[in-house]
Symmetry: C2
Subunit: 490 residues, 2 copies
């Protein structure tokens, strides 16, 4: 199969971004379709990226006081049905277990689409006093939402994610938690994924089913569509009331706890691909690349091979000792060209080529997956210079990817007065990604925009993302009460 | 709830080991029952142990050439039914999804009880040539087996595990893989869990449904019952035939691949508890303890508290900087006694107590969770001596736990000629855990032993675990063809 795929070029992004995405995800061996409707297989290269994401996020969660736990996959149907908005939001997407152990069950279980209900039922058991608060837990888990139209990583029936669930004694503490995590997500996306995100509040129509307020990180993909990359919800006391999550306050009163929940998923891998990929393939930010440097020995005869392969092994070992994820590709049945092709498609940031003459001269060839302005893509240099400069080259690439993504996003962002849905539609059709406009707050306007332009309010932006001059006109006509960001979205 | 539990003593192990286990798992906050039949909640302390186990095993898998991937939770019913023995083994325990997205499904899905079928169907798509082999993948996942009698960690409907699945070009390579992993498991259990395991082959009656040969690690718990702690299966070409997993050999022939699968689960957490726990609570080997050193400031007045709390914070920071997992317990509403009780029940290896006078004298009190012969449980010493010696104390405890567990196992092991099932039953009733005996190989004898004594063949031991002198008589009468190890098991 590798052979079959090797020959295939990718559809250029400009021609059909969606086709490009599907091809690159499969050809870079990030993921594959499975025999299970809507479920994907995450292949080692894609899972390796997810593992790096998990490690980084997990460290950030722990640094902010959270611990991991694990709650059941199955949720009693009656639990899901208890919070009214929650069940309305999730019921159409549930997968239901009706039989188990050879019998029909008295009460059906659903495979968790998210775990608020089962988790807060447990917190109700564990929390008695204000001294037991806050509860700050996270779980890494699979969830299932039966989607009709699926896309690898972006929308699948089953996906992997983390879901944080917290309980607090006061509303303000819960609000602070929801915002803290929003900041953690944004920092992760910028620092690790090199993917700039704008943050803000969701409109009532777009918020999480059961939340009081939903915050989100929204990133702009290369095709001008937005990706909701992470969400953090202030749940108020909605779930606490349904599951009896009460505590005795310092003053001795019985009170309902305040909850938050927040999550990011394997969807981020899709976001990474759509943020940085080019017509050659995936481009990985060094911090998340499972392999940061691939070392390629190049030699025809057995004698040549012995020399270059040994050198490649030594360089691999030296880099690994230094904490750089290096891999010497020792496969002899593939031509150098086939290897170049494979590793570029997979997005490895740096390649070191070693031919027999290079070894004689003490040189290697360093090839960048993508080069910056005024930077050679391919350079011969001494082995010492090549190896000594690896960390700097990786760090520079990480920075450059973020700068480039930010520049693309800014170029595709429109700010100004937008006085009609027609005008908004024109802006989007002319290539605008994020369109800032005024909004009265009327859900009818939001609904009309969606019907006429397919754009939705991505966020009511956080302070730092608002325009210097607030728009005065609502996109639906009349005056604005707030600024919002519109986009067509994944 | 913490308050309620604090007061409670544990049932002594000698009185009722099973009650002790259930109590200690809940009171140490390792796990709790959930509202979902047979499913448990793994609480942060239990999950923290599992995370340490995962990290250690994952590193070992990667060091032996494996990568992680992720396959679907759901498996089409028709896949499970394809391998005859496999379906017979798992069908009674399946949980079945019949409805999803608001509709009845055309074909039902089962929640994976194990993933051979779905995984080998994907390998069949990916593998064409011998050059694509071996495939060496692992996944960390949840699985579900609808059990009637459940025990926290030991037997639950849903559990967490890793399942390795490999494909090889030759039988001997697959056989070597199965044995390599058996060795990895045994090493992990000894080096990390301080839990000695014997290894060997399962009898036909006890092997994995669909395997040609199953290897296992068996550990002996303090109550004399065996725990199957990890298994590694040589699957032959059974699954390859059912899922068309073929490859073109170097000689150009179409051949079926050879598979192995292997797994350990959250059951190991239960094994850890039953191996080392005492009547006070859990005892954790330092390498797997989420917190290795708890630092307790002790002071009544606010002035005293300020001094000891600050000292505790500094010690915590210094130890954490040195890579020791330390935690300063700054809760003021709990008495020192309540904290001692809590951390001893949870099994933290070392405790450092700091009172106001200790600070004046530059001293601290070091308390070991369990002390060895000639070792003080509690010692006052200079802060420098205390902190400087932490690594050695932890390493010594790790070794001592393994030695103690090995001594208990050896003391509860009977080797010699056992000529009848009655004799075997007597040995077990008199306290033997592992009983070595000869066996003809007749499954009828195995069946009879099980009915009469409730013991099963745990393994046909690997060479290094066999007796110096092979037994000559079969436990069912007549001559022996091999040596086996019997035990009553979890």
């Amino acid at each position: 199969m590798k052979k079959r795929q090797k020959g295939k070029g990718l559809t250029p992004r400009a021609e059909d971004f969606s086709a490009w995405y599907n091809e690159v995800v499969q050809q870079a061996e990030l993921a594959d379709y499975s025999p299970v409707r809507g479920s994907m297989v995450i292949r080692p290269w894609g899972y390796g990226i997810w593992e790096k994401m998990q490690r980084a996020l997990d460290d950030m969660f722990k640094a902010t006081g959270h611990q991991n736990a694990y709650f059941p996959l199955l949720i009693p149907m009656s639990f899901i049905e208890r919070e009214k908005e929650h069940v309305e939001g999730f019921k159409p997407e549930l997968a239901v277990v009706t039989h188990a152990g050879g019998k029909e069950l008295d009460e059906a279980y659903v495979i968790r689409p998210t775990s608020e209900t089962i988790i807060y039922s447990m917190y109700a058991k564990w929390v008695q006093s204000y001294r037991d608060l806050p509860v700050l837990l996270n779980q890494w888990a699979n969830v299932m939402r039966w989607e009709l139209r699926t896309r690898l990583f972006l929308r699948t029936a089953e996906f992997l994610w983390q879901e944080g669930h917290t309980a607090h004694a006061t509303e303000s503490e819960a609000e602070e938690e929801a915002r803290t995590i929003l900041g953690v997500y944004r920092t992760f996306m910028e620092d690790w994924m090199a993917m700039p995100a704008i943050t803000g509040l969701k409109s009532e129509a777009e918020k999480f089913a059961g939340a009081v307020r939903s915050y989100a990180c929204e990133a702009l993909m290369q095709d001008g569509k937005a990706l909701q990359a992470g969400t953090s919800h202030m749940l108020g006391q909605n779930f606490a009331r349904q599951f009896g999550l009460t505590f005795q306050s310092e003053e001795g009163r019985e009170e309902y706890a305040w909850n938050t929940s927040w999550g990011v998923s394997t969807r981020l891998v899709g976001g990474l691909v759509m943020t940085h990929g080019d017509d050659v393939g995936v481009v990985l930010p060094p911090k998340l690349a499972p392999t940061q440097v691939v070392v390629l020995p190049i030699g025809r005869s057995d004698d040549q091979w012995a020399v270059v392969a040994e050198k490649a092994r030594r360089i691999e070992a030296e880099l690994n000792d230094r904490g750089i994820r290096a891999l010497a590709d020792q496969r002899r049945h593939l031509s150098p060209g086939a290897k170049f092709f494979e590793w570029e498609r997979k997005g490895v940031p740096l390649r070191i080529e070693i031919g027999p003459r290079d070894v004689e001269r003490g040189e290697v060839v360093v090839v960048r997956r993508v080069s910056g302005e005024g930077e050679a893509r391919k350079e011969s240099m001494s082995e010492a210079a090549a190896l000594g400069g690896i960390e700097n080259r990786l760090a520079a690439l990480q920075r450059r990817l973020l700068d480039a993504a930010r520049a693309r996003r800014d170029a595709a962002t429109y700010r100004g007065e937008v006085s009609s849905t027609d005008e908004l539609g024109d802006l989007l059709n002319e290539g605008a990604g994020f369109v800032y406009s005024g909004w009265s707050g009327d859900p009818g306007v939001e609904d009309r925009v969606k019907n006429e332009t397919r754009a939705t309010i991505r966020v009511i932006p956080s302070r730092e993302f608002r325009s210097d001059t607030a728009p005065t006109r609502c996109v639906g006509g009349g005056g604005a009460n707030m600024e919002v960001v519109w986009a067509r979205a994944y």
